[in-house]
């Protein structure tokens, strides 16, 4: 027997109207935005901002570059010619392709600002040399280092990635296991928590002297330190997530006939997943820090090693080049973790956007 239709209608709302996350625009909003964007052209300011900014930055550079050998600045000027060219092509293409237009509307201001900032950097360093050399090279020199040293940079990135992922994976696995045990079992919490509280807050990098002595190789000790750095936040947040599982979820599960395996793996762990992800994020941040420090003191490869090696030769252009790679590298890993989180936590409302 089914409830009569007029009976159930008032409380059944179509899922579409409520499935949107609070942070995402509603359908009505999207419609309004689309209508607005279809109606209005991209203004001339948005059209011209990026190429104009690129021309300004280029002019600044050419103004000062007379006294420098052409080979040193060639790729930088080429970059700006490319930016001018591409932005003009895009501003023509957006007339025919809607998604590109809304992307440009969103990106043009920030790109313009970034290009102008490059120009300012150029003035301060390369132009008037207001900052002491060789510590503050201009953007052209950094770009040149990036291009000239690309093979070594790529190789360093690869080594860093391998080291980071092996340490992070071990740290996460051990952290999840210890966190679940500490969070679920009272005796394990009694014995484990003091250890966690005492050992955990020590920065993993403080163990470097000890790690160098006990471990067979620098790479293994670095991976171990990264694992240690990741282990602490993952354990802490997992344990608190598990032990704070709403008692009523466990009560309900028990009255449904759940045994201990169900309570742990199908109730407590899913309930702790939001917390666990916070631990994973904190662990990822800690792993970046530990990676760079470990690479600059012991390991003879990777981006951290590259930075301190370049600094040793006073090649600061290379230092900045490596920093740019690191920024892109770490930011990508962060984004991937956010994507994973969004995928796993579809059931949760209002998650932080990255």
């Amino acid at each position: 027997m089914r409830p009569e239709k007029h009976n159930s209608r008032p409380e059944i709302s179509p899922p579409e109207s409520t499935t949107q996350l609070p942070s995402a625009p509603t359908h009505a909003n999207v419609d309004a935005i689309e209508r607005m964007e279809r109606g209005s052209e991209l203004g001339w300011r948005a059209h011209l901002a990026v190429p104009l900014a690129a021309l300004v930055a280029l002019a600044i550079h050419l103004l000062f570059s007379k006294r420098a050998p052409a080979v040193e600045t060639h790729s930088y000027t080429l970059l700006f010619y490319e930016i001018v060219g591409v932005s003009i092509v895009l501003s023509i293409a957006q007339r025919f392709w809607m998604p590109l237009r809304s992307w440009m509307r969103h990106m043009c201001p920030i790109l313009t600002a970034a290009i102008l900032l490059l120009g300012l950097w150029d003035i301060v360093t390369f132009g008037f040399q207001l900052l002491p050399m060789p510590y503050f090279p201009g953007p052209a020199a950094v770009l040149r280092s990036l291009i000239n040293d690309r093979v070594l940079l790529l190789d360093s990135t690869w080594h860093s990635l391998a080291l980071l992922l092996s340490g992070y994976t071990v740290g996460v696995l051990v952290g999840l296991i210890s966190g679940i045990c500490i969070g679920w079992s009272t005796p394990i919490r009694y014995w484990g928590m003091p250890l966690l509280k005492v050992v955990g807050p020590i920065p993993a990098t403080a163990w470097i002297p000890l790690a160098m002595v006990v471990s067979p190789s620098a790479v293994v000790s670095a991976a171990g330190l990264i694992a240690l750095a990741v282990w602490f936040p993952v354990t802490m947040l997992t344990a608190s997530g598990i032990s704070n599982t709403r008692a009523s979820y466990l009560d309900v599960a028990r009255t449904l006939g759940a045994g201990r395996a169900y309570l742990v793996f199908r109730v407590a762990i899913p309930a702790a997943i939001p917390n666990i992800f916070i631990g994973l994020f904190m662990g990822l941040g800690a792993s970046f820090l530990t990676l760079v420090v470990a690479e600059s003191v012991g390991v003879k490869s990777g981006l951290g090693w590259y930075v301190s090696w370049a600094q040793g030769w006073a090649e600061y252009g290379k230092v900045y080049a490596a920093l740019i790679i690191m920024a892109a590298f770490f930011s990508t890993l962060m984004t991937l973790l956010f994507k994973l989180r969004d995928h796993v936590l579809v059931w949760q409302k209002g998650v932080i956007k990255w």
Binding site: P3, E11, I12, R254, T255, Y262, P270, Q348, K349
Partner: protein
């Protein structure tokens, strides 16, 4: 599972007092009651009279200080799928879709494979088949509570315990849900113990009404509702019964004030 009788004999339960952990406060004092198989009984009383504590004891989530609880002839020792419990908060698992919530009991007991057909049957029973793949935060309060009822009923409990299951719903939804619960009760003929603070709900739904008084919780009076179903909420008999119960509840409240002084 068949519906089963429920017998409670001289059950007492105390908890540590929140303000003074060294003393214990008696929450239930010598409660005795029995429900025939397939009977629907309501427990009403002012807040703090131990209604929810009693349900937790019957569910097996807590154990009494003294006394005896029996389902059929089996003593209650721990939670079991034969005694379902539905709270005021539906407590659906937010990480599972509606379908997976409803089949949770089958998964927990490891019988999903044999009884997979029943999942669809129960989703249809509570009118949620369209929402099978929605997550609980997409559901309205009434829909969520229907899903919680289906989740409890899919185990075919001998006894279904309802702890103010409709308390959080608005008046219209609540009246519709009362019919819904009655329909499920009639379809499954399970023994039902309903805790509520809504007198109309108790009269509308139950075979018998037990009135509890607080501090310490005890059963003051049991009233048989001899009205034919479906009951008219505005009929003379209904209103007279309502008046009687209201009076008894006032008395119960006063006696508790005297006890406290």
């Amino acid at each position: 599972m068949e519906a089963s009788s429920l017998r409670i004999r001289e059950v007492s339960k105390s908890f540590p007092a929140p303000d003074d952990p060294l003393t214990r406060r008696l929450t239930l004092s010598n409660i005795s009651l029995s429900l025939a198989a397939g009977e629907l009984v309501s427990l009403i009383g002012p807040s703090g009279c131990g209604k929810s504590t009693l349900l937790r004891l019957i569910a097996g989530l807590d154990s009494p200080d003294s006394g005896e609880l029996l389902v059929g002839s089996e003593p209650i020792t721990s939670p079991n799928a034969e005694r379902g419990l539905v709270f005021q908060d539906p407590n659906l698992f937010p990480w599972l879709t509606v379908r997976r919530n409803i089949q949770a009991g089958l998964v927990a007991r490891g019988v999903l494979r044999e009884k997979r057909d029943e999942v669809d049957q129960f989703m249809r029973l509570v009118g949620l088949e369209v929402f099978a793949n929605a997550y609980p935060h997409h559901l309205s309060g009434g829909m969520a509570q229907r899903a919680a009822l289906a989740r409890a009923l899919i185990n075919h409990p001998k006894v279904l315990l309802l702890d103010e299951p409709l308390g959080a719903l608005d008046a219209f939804t609540r009246m519709r849900m009362q019919d819904e619960v009655l329909r499920l009760w009639q379809a499954h003929r399970t023994t039902m113990l309903l805790v509520t603070h809504d007198i109309d709900e108790a009269i509308y739904m139950s075979d018998r009404i037990m009135i509890m008084s607080p501090r310490p919780g005890k059963i003051e009076q049991t009233i048989s509702v001899g009205l034919d179903r479906p009951r008219q909420r505005t009929s003379e008999d209904f209103l007279r019964l309502r008046g009687d119960i209201l009076e008894l509840l006032h008395l119960a409240g006063e006696s508790s004030v005297e006890n406290k002084n």
